[in-house]
C-alpha cells in the first residue's frame, strides 16, 4: 500500500477544518443560551416555539406534495420515453436539467408575473405555485434517480411479460414498474425532501409560511436560537443524505447543486 504523503495530510486537514469549524462554532454557540453553562436551552425554546412547529409542518406538507407531484410527473414519462418514444429522450433529459442552471429568483420572477394575476391568482394565494416551483427544482434529482432505477431493470421485457398475462398499461406501470424502482424513488424523494425543507428563496418571495423564511426571521429577534435551528437543519440534511447512502444508489459525483443557495 502506498504511504500517504505529508502534503496530502496537510490538505486533508485544511479541508476538514473548513468543513468542521463552522459546524463546531455553530453547535458551541447554540449550547450557550444559559450563562456559564452548556445546555440545550436554545433547542428547548425552538421546539416549544409554535411558529417552529407550524412552519416545519407546513414545509413537511409542501415537501410531500412536491414528492408526489414529481413522481407522478416524472415516472410515467420516463417509462414511456424508454418504452415507446426514445427519440424524445435527449429533449427530456435537457428539460429536466434546465432547473439546475436557472436561479430560483429568476424562475419565481417569471412565474409570479404570469400566475400572480387573473385568472391564475389562486395559485399565488394558495401554496400551489410554491409546490410547482419546488417540483421544477426537484426535476433534475427526481429524473436522475428514476432514470438510474429504470436503467437497472429491463423495462421492455417486464412490460411484455405483464401484457402477455393480460395487464393493461396503467396496471403494468403501477404494479410492475413502480415496485421495481422503489429504491430509486426513495432516494429521489429524500433528496427532494431535503431541498424543500431548506427552501428559502421561493418561499420568502412567494410569502409562504415555510421553514426557510422562519429560520431567517428568528435571526432578527433571537440570539442563540438561530444557531440551534441551523444545527437542526444540518442534521436534517445529514439524515437525508444518510438515508440515500444507505439505499446505496448514490455514487460520488452524482451529487449536485441542490438546496437554496
Amino acid at each position: 500500500m502506498k504511504r500517504t504523503s505529508l502534503t496530502s495530510w496537510l490538505w486533508m486537514i485544511i479541508g476538514a477544518l473548513y468543513f468542521l469549524l463552522p459546524l463546531i462554532a455553530t453547535a458551541d454557540f447554540s449550547l450557550r443560551a444559559e450563562k456559564n453553562k452548556l445546555g440545550f436551552l436554545a433547542y428547548e425554546r425552538v421546539f416549544a416555539d409554535p411558529r417552529f412547529i407550524s412552519t416545519f409542518t407546513f414545509s413537511l406538507y409542501v415537501s410531500i406534495l412536491t414528492i408526489i407531484a414529481s413522481i407522478i410527473l416524472v415516472v410515467p414519462t420516463a417509462y414511456w420515453v424508454r418504452l415507446r418514444v426514445p427519440t424524445f429522450r435527449r429533449a427530456f433529459e435537457f428539460i429536466t436539467l434546465l432547473p439546475l442552471i436557472i436561479p430560483a429568483v429568476v424562475l419565481v420572477f417569471g412565474l409570479s408575473r404570469i400566475y400572480g394575476k387573473y385568472p391564475f391568482q389562486f395559485m399565488i394565494e394558495t401554496p400551489a405555485l410554491f409546490v410547482v416551483g419546488n417540483v421544477i427544482f426537484a426535476l433534475p434529482y427526481m429524473y436522475r434517480s428514476v432514470d438510474i432505477g429504470l436503467r437497472a431493470i429491463d423495462v421492455h421485457t417486464l412490460t411484455e411479460a405483464a401484457q402477455s398475462l393480460g395487464a393493461s398499461l396503467p396496471y403494468t406501470l403501477l404494479r410492475v414498474i413502480f415496485p421495481n424502482i422503489t429504491v430509486a424513488l426513495l432516494s429521489g424523494a429524500f433528496l427532494t425532501f431535503a431541498i424543500v425543507m431548506g427552501e428559502f428563496t421561493m418561499a420568502s418571495l412567494l410569502v409562504q409560511p415555510a421553514f426557510g423564511p422562519y429560520m431567517q426571521q428568528i435571526s432578527s429577534s433571537k440570539v442563540y436560537e438561530p444557531s440551534a435551528v441551523a444545527i437542526i437543519s444540518f442534521m436534517l440534511t445529514w439524515a437525508c443524505t444518510g438515508a440515500i447512502q444507505l439505499l446505496g444508489r448514490r455514487s460520488p459525483g452524482q451529487t449536485q447543486v441542490a438546496g437554496s443557495r
Binding site: 502506498k2 485544511i14 468543513f19 469549524l21 428563496t201 435571526s219 444540518f234
Partner: protein, 281 residues
C-alpha cells in the same frame, strides 16, 4: 391496415407542465424585457442594465462568483488530489466523500448562521484569533462584505468541487505515470505534459459549474447581509417584492441578463464536459 402512431401522446402531460412553468416564464421574461410601460417596444430596459448601479451589481456578483469558484475549486482540487492520488486511507476518503455530499447541500440560511457563529464579530474563530493577537475586524475583514461572502460560498463550493474532481482524478491511470517515468520524465514533466493537459478541461468545467452555482445564489447572501449587498439576485428579488421602483420591464431585463450569463456558462460547461469524457473511459 396502417394505424396512426399515438405514442407521443404519453409525453404530453410532461410537456404541458414544462411549457407552463418553465418555458412560459422564460418567454414572459424575454418579451417583457423589451416592453415599455404602455406595451410598446423599447430598448430602455436593456439600456438600464448598463446604468452605473446595475452595472456595479453585475460586476460585484461576477467578482464574488469568480473568487469563490477559484477558491472553492482550488481547495477542492487539492483535497480531491490528496484523497485520490495522495493515497488517503479508505475510511478517510469515504468520510470526505459522504461529508461533501452533505456540505454541498448545506447552503442558504443555516449556512449564513454557521458563518456568523464562526467569523462574525463574536464568532469562535474571530475570538480565537484575537487571543493570539490577530484582530480580524481591525485588519479590515468583514463577514458581511466581499471576502466574507466568498469564504461562506466556498463552504458549498469546495465539497462540490471535491465530488466533481474525484472521477477525473481517478481516471489518471497509474500506467501513464509509469510510462512517462520509464521514458525518463520527472514529476514536473509528467504533470506538465500529461497530467495537467488531461485535467485541464475538467478544471475549467468545474470552475464554470461553481461560477454558475455562486452566480444564482440568493438565500445565503440574503441571510448573511440582510439584503444589504447589491448582488443581482437580490436586486431582482426587490423588484418582485416591489420595494423600489417596481418597474416590471426592468426586472425582466435583469432576469434576462442572469439567464444569458447562465446560458453562456452552461454552454461552455457542456463543451468542456465532452472533452473530459473522452479520457474517462
Amino acid at each position: 391496415m396502417r394505424r396512426i402512431n399515438w405514442d407521443w401522446l404519453g409525453i404530453v402531460p410532461f410537456l404541458l407542465f414544462s411549457i407552463a412553468f418553465l418555458f412560459a416564464p422564460g418567454i414572459n421574461i424575454f418579451i417583457n424585457s423589451f416592453r415599455g410601460p404602455n406595451d410598446e417596444f423599447t430598448l430602455n430596459n436593456i439600456a438600464g442594465l448598463f446604468a452605473q448601479n446595475i452595472f456595479d451589481s453585475f460586476s460585484v456578483t461576477l467578482r464574488i462568483s469568480l473568487a469563490s469558484a477559484a477558491l472553492g475549486g482550488m481547495l477542492g482540487l487539492l483535497v480531491a488530489y490528496a484523497l485520490v492520488i495522495g493515497g488517503a486511507p479508505r475510511i478517510v476518503r469515504t468520510l470526505f466523500m459522504t461529508f461533501s455530499g452533505v456540505a454541498s447541500n448545506f447552503a442558504g440560511v443555516p449556512l449564513a448562521f454557521a458563518f456568523i457563529s464562526t467569523l462574525g464579530r463574536l464568532g469562535l474563530v474571530t475570538l480565537l484569533l484575537k487571543q493570539i493577537g490577530v484582530d480580524l475586524y481591525a485588519e479590515g475583514f468583514n463577514l458581511y462584505g466581499f471576502w466574507g461572502l466568498v469564504l461562506t460560498y466556498t463552504y458549498f463550493q469546495m465539497p462540490l468541487a471535491i465530488l466533481v474532481f474525484a472521477p477525473p482524478l481517478e481516471g489518471l491511470k497509474q500506467q501513464w505515470r509509469e510510462a512517462a517515468e520509464s521514458l525518463g520524465a520527472n514529476s514536473l514533466q509528467y504533470w506538465q505534459f500529461i497530467g495537467l493537459p488531461i485535467l485541464l478541461p475538467a478544471m475549467l468545467s468545474v470552475f464554470i459549474l461553481l461560477f454558475g452555482n455562486a452566480f444564482g445564489a440568493y438565500a445565503t447572501a440574503y441571510a448573511l447581509t440582510g439584503g444589504q449587498i447589491n448582488l443581482v439576485p437580490l436586486v431582482i428579488a426587490r423588484q418582485i417584492s416591489g420595494d423600489v421602483l417596481n418597474n416590471q420591464g426592468f426586472g425582466s431585463a435583469l432576469a434576462l441578463g442572469m439567464i444569458i450569463m447562465m446560458a453562456i456558462s452552461i454552454t461552455l460547461y457542456s463543451l468542456l464536459q465532452n472533452r473530459t469524457a473522452r479520457w474517462l473511459k
